[in-house]
Structure formats: C-alpha cells, structure tokens
C-alpha cells in the first residue's frame, strides 16, 4: 500500500484538506462541505452503478432516510441528539430500507430495475409528503446543531460550528468512507461484483449467486448514501421530502456520471463539481435547470466517461506518447 504512488497523492490531498477552513470563506466552506457529503453519496452510489452495473434512479430514498433519521431524532428524541448516536442510527435505517427496497428491485434488471427503484423512492416521497404531522411535509423539519461526545454547541451559530469542529468531523467521515470503499472495491467481494457487471451469465456459472450479491451491493450503497444524507443535514439545517423525489435521485446519478463512473475517484470529482455548478447556475439565473439539463446533455454526448474519465484517458495517452519517445 505504501509503495503505490497513489497513496502519496491521497495523503498529500488529505493534508491539504486539513487547512481548508483557514483558506476559504465561510460561504465557500459550506459549499465545500456540501460537496464532501455528496462525495460520500457518490462513492456509495457508484458501488452499485460503476462496479455492479445497476442504475438506480431512486437512491434519494436512502439519502432522505439518513437525513430524516437525524431530523426526527432532533424532534422526538432530543436527548439522543448527539452525533455518536445519529450516525449509527442513520446507517441502520438506511440499511433497513435498502434491504426492503433492494430485495424487491434486484430481482429485475436494466430498465425494470431503474423504473422500480425510481417508483419506490417516490413511494417514500409520498409518505414523507403526506404524513406532514410527523414529517413536516413539504415544509420539512429543522435540523439543529447536534452534540458530539458530550461537546455541546449551544450558543454557537451554525457557521462557526461548520467552520470548526464539524469540518474535521466531516473530513474524518469522508476519509473513513473513502478507505472502506477502497477496500471493498479491491476485495474478492468487489471483484465478484465486477464479474457480475461484466458477464452475469458467466458469473452465475462460476458459482456467484448474482441476485444475492447485487442485493449486498445495493445495501452497502444505500448505507453510504444514507450516511451522506445524515451528514448533509447539519450543513443544510433543514430537510424536506424532496430528498426522496426522483429528480433528486437523478442529480445523484448526474454527479456520478459527471465525474465518471468508471473510475474510483470519479464520483468524488463529480460531486464537488456538480455542487459548484448547481449553485453557480442557481445564483445566476432563474433558469438554472435549463443550464444543468443542457450541461448534462452535452456531457453525455461528448464526455461519456465523465470528467475524471476524460482526464484518465488523456493521462493514458500522454503516458503512451512519453513511452514511445
């Protein structure tokens, strides 16, 4: 692991990230934190898309589950409102939901799978929307600052919280997610998923129980996305039912494609860029959906491997040229 030059790059980037709060303004830092939470989402989502070959258009459901777990505990169980409880709870409920939805969905493939996952997430959306007594409906629920291992942040305003402790907590969670996903993807389990993606028939005929492993991938990805959702709530301060709407799920897919789903780091790059792209578009025109939609179309047509993918391809070409001269 130490021999691999990649890890040197990763370590350098990590160290650089430690200094970010000193460099960025509070507004930019918030943006960056949004990006990091979506990077976690993207890593999880890509396990299912890039590595297992399944395109879910309903992963917003797990994001919403993680987010609403936090918000509901804030509202109904304030005594338990501390990060060390919130994070495992979010993971737990995302796991439960992804087991249920996953079990139904992985029996189908391709178009059916996409439609099913989309529809199931809309089911959750409908529930969150209509049961407004509990969930706040379209108004949603507020998310106050949590405690962390007894450290209370009462009296601190949200920006200071985000600037300080929370940034490092978030960075820590991201690093853990990164390492865990790296491990999963290179492990025998990860190889089995890729085999399923590449040749389902052959995978079955070397003894891999395809449906079951797809479900495992589904659950793990759901949990990562739920974690991202939970972490996101503190930056946003507010959760709404839209998080489970299929258009939001579509944004998750968008980010992953933007960065490139063929590379491990792709979704991370995509998440950060998309966050900035969306906010830039929203800040500059009321027709931001046109901009985002148009960009997506251009992207699909011209850069099918995503931005990171295009860079990787470029890098390979450069290496070849260097080798030949």
């Amino acid at each position: 692991m130490v021999k691999n030059p990649r890890w040197i790059v990763y370590s350098l980037i990590f160290i650089a990230l430690l200094f970010i709060p000193r460099i960025l303004s509070i507004h930019d830092l918030m943006l960056f934190e949004y990006g990091i939470t979506f990077a976690i989402v993207g890593l999880g989502f890509n396990l299912l898309l890039g590595y297992t070959g399944l395109l879910s258009f309903g992963h917003g459901a797990y994001f919403a589950t993680g987010a609403y777990t936090v918000a509901m505990i804030a509202k109904y169980l304030p005594q338990a409102y501390s990060l060390e409880i919130l994070i495992p709870a979010a993971l737990f409920f995302s796991m439960v939901l992804s087991i249920i939805f996953g079990f139904v969905s992985v029996r189908h493939t391709k178009i059916f799978f996409s439609i099913l996952t989309l529809s199931l997430s809309m089911l959750l959306f409908a529930l969150l929307f209509k049961l407004y007594h509990i969930t706040g409906g379209s108004d949603g629920l507020r998310v106050p600052l949590p405690t962390l291992f007894g450290m209370s942040f009462k009296g601190i305003r949200r920006p200071e919280f985000l600037l300080g402790t929370y940034y490092y907590f978030l960075l820590g969670m991201f690093s853990v997610s990164f390492l865990v996903m790296k491990g999963i993807v290179n492990s025998p389990f990860g190889k089995a998923l890729q085999a399923i993606r590449d040749n389902e028939v052959r995978a079955e005929l070397i003894g891999i129980r395809v449906r079951r492993y797809r479900l495992y991938a589904f659950i793990i990805s759901g949990m990562f996305v739920g974690l991202g959702g939970a972490l996101w709530t503190f930056v946003n301060g507010h959760v709404t039912a839209d998080l489970s709407h299929w258009v939001f799920s579509g944004e998750i897919v968008y980010m992953t494609l933007l960065g490139g789903f063929g590379i491990f780091e792709g979704p991370i790059v995509g998440a950060i860029i998309f966050t900035y792209l969306k906010l830039y578009a929203m800040g500059n025109t009321q027709y931001w959906m046109f901009v985002i939609g148009g960009t997506l179309i251009v992207l699909v047509l011209l850069l099918p491997n995503g931005i990171a993918g295009a860079f990787a391809g470029l890098w390979t070409k450069i290496k070849k040229v260097i080798e030949e001269t």
Partner: protein, 247 residues
C-alpha cells in the same frame, strides 16, 4: 461420475434432447459429435444448469442435480466453458481466473482486504495460468488477447473451479487451425494431471480422435452411437448422418 437418465428437452416442436442416456466415468475424456442442431449444446446447458429439462434425471456423484441451480452444481464440481467466449471483459486475465477461485473457496464474502493480499489464491491463479502457458499475459485484459488465448482463458476459468467434471463446448472453434493442437495439448495436459472427467463438444474429427477416450454421436436429439473413436468413425449410420458419406 455423471449419469444421464432418459433426459428430455423440447423447445416447442424441436426435440433438442430426446430421451438421452449416457454415462461418464472418472477421469474419462468423452467427446460428443453430431451435426449442428443435434442437441449437443442443449445437453451441456442441461448439465451445467443453465436450463432445466422437461423430464429425466441427471445424477452427478450419485446426487440428483436435475433441477439444481447453477451455483449448487458448481459447488459439487461441474464446470463449463463456452462456445461463444464468455469472459469478464473489464478484468485482467489474472482476475478472470482469480474470481473463479475466490468463488470456489467461498471467499467472495471477504469484503475489506484487497484481493492481492490473498497470496495463496493469487499464486494458485498464476499457477493455473502457467499450466496453460498464459502467465506472462496475466495483467492484460481480454481486449489485448488473441482468439486462441481467449479460448484458453475461457477454459482456464472453468478449470479454476476445481471441477471434477469439465464441460467444454467447442474448445477449438475460432482458433486458427495451426494453433488447435497447441491449445488442446495444454488443455488436455492440465486435465490429465488432475484426473478431471471431461465432456467435449467438437466438430474437428482430428481433435476428437486425437484426445478422446470415448466418443458419443448425437443426431436430432438422440444418441445414435457410442464407443472408441475409431469404432465410431467406422459406424455406417454415423458416417451417413454426421459425415454425409453414404456407402
């Protein structure tokens, strides 16, 4: 080792496999020949579990696997390769074989350590590639391999499953005539070393007579002849139906 008892599979009016009986003993290399559409690939599909029969039984090591799902049969020791090569197109040659080993050893649940850390499995994969003379290509992906190499890889994957019974569907089809014997030599060498029973579907009669202990002839879903290669080749009915020679 393998017993097929009155197996039947019809696709509508097409009698793909029509009351077939056959037996394969331990360590035997048996070839199946016959015209196109005689039912050979259907038979292999039935044995490997890709499709289920209408009636009849398949017994492997005295266990009834007639309706067992593929992963059960693989666990018991049935492996197969494909006529149209079926590889994991985006994985390296090493990974193609290694994943089969991980599956065989029930290790695909291991989700945290990198696959490379599992040195015994990795070494074994390299050894297998070695016995097929492919270990120098271990980091290439299927896109960078010749047709013959793709075929060998396909068979190496089946081989990695430590099968007791190997089903090879036209192992030399698509391979240049000059290379056919080279390919078969490395395959049969590896097979004989482990004492694996093998069922080969083949069209090339030189290959069949060169490597088989026994030959089975199928025509329109039925077995019409069985025996040693030279006996079968002299059989009048076989000559007429398969070779189109009327005497």
């Amino acid at each position: 080792m393998l017993t097929i008892d009155n197996l039947k599979k019809h696709f509508g009016s097409v009698k793909a496999v029509d009351h077939v009986n056959l037996e394969i003993k331990e360590g035997e290399i048996v070839s199946i020949i016959g015209t196109n559409g005689a039912g050979k690939t259907t038979l292999v599909n039935l044995i490997s579990g890709y499709i289920k029969p209408d009636s009849g039984r398949i017994l492997f090591l005295d266990k009834d696997i007639t309706y067992a799902p593929p992963y059960v049969r693989i666990k018991l020791g049935v492996g197969r390769s494909f006529q149209l090569i079926q590889l994991f197109s985006n994985s390296t040659v090493l990974d193609n074989v290694r994943i089969a080993l991980f599956s065989k050893y029930g290790m695909i649940r291991r989700g945290l350590l990198p696959a490379d850390r599992y040195s015994s499995v990795t070494d074994e994969a390299i050894k297998i590639l070695d016995s097929f003379s492919m270990s120098d290509k271990k980091n290439l992906t299927p896109k960078g391999l010749s047709e013959g190499d793709l075929k060998i890889l396909d068979i190496a994957i089946a081989f990695a499953l430590k099968s007791k019974l190997l089903l090879l569907d036209e192992p030399t089809s698509g391979v240049a005539t000059n290379d056919k014997f080279k390919v078969m030599d490395s395959i049969v060498k590896a097979i004989k070393k482990e004492g694996i029973s093998t069922l080969i579907i083949e069209h090339d009669m030189d290959i069949v007579s060169g490597y088989s202990d026994r030959v089975i002839v199928m025509h329109e879903g039925k077995v019409i002849a069985e025996g040693k290669p030279n006996e079968v080749m002299e059989n009048k009915e076989v000559k007429a139906t398969v070779f189109g020679i009327v005497s």
